[in-house]
Symmetry: C2
Subunit: 122 residues, 2 copies
């Protein structure tokens, strides 16, 4: 059973973390066929942490977890911190296939969305 774990940075602002949770709900509805389990996790400042997010997926029955970094650039968090957190849980659950997907900013259609956003007032 496949799980999708959306990883966001986490914010001191509760509304911002709730925004990620709403996005996760939207993804859960849309990705249902391929990912029966969809959770989110936060690098810092909010719960669940990344290890706890993976734990939730495993407890829900996941045999495969796709970790999806909701990040825009390949900074330290994407390159080092997320892989470190994932490694610990992979060692704990060697029978679960945990893999990290491309971070959002690597998608080449981000520029399309930016150009459209430029027309929308804040």
């Amino acid at each position: 059973m496949k799980a999708l774990l959306v990883i966001a940075h986490g914010s001191r602002r509760a509304e911002s973390n709730d925004e990620v949770r709403r996005l996760t709900d939207t993804l859960a509805r849309r990705a249902q066929a391929e990912f029966p389990i969809v959770c989110c996790g936060f690098l810092e400042l909010a719960e669940p942490s990344i290890p706890n997010g993976i734990e939730q997926c495993v407890q829900a029955g996941a045999t495969e977890v796709v970790v999806l970094p909701y990040f825009l650039s390949a900074g330290r968090h994407v390159v080092t911190d997320i892989p470190n957190d994932v490694r610990g849980k992979q060692e704990q659950y060697p029978q679960v296939n945990i893999r990290i997907a491309a971070y959002l900013g690597a998608h080449d259609r981000v520029t399309d969305l930016l150009l459209e956003s430029a027309l929308i007032p804040a």
Copy 2:
């Protein structure tokens, strides 16, 4: 003359800031007709700063600057820090129309890109 100013967080990792500069180059090529001037600015940790980015646009002849937050959630940076930086330059250049556009994460097709990213290995 319209300018587009892409605002990213900025990273200690030079490659990550260069990634934003490359994205800005791509946008410049694509948005040329509507935005003859396309620059980037960083909230922190990299140059140009947001005020300096606006300054570059104005010096290049911009009469209108669209500030485009390359951010995923409405955290403190989007809600408070970017508007504060913009306000100072707006006061300095009252004749230039500076407006802040919707941040990237507010775009409803971000979920499409996330689902596609889930299929791409890191």
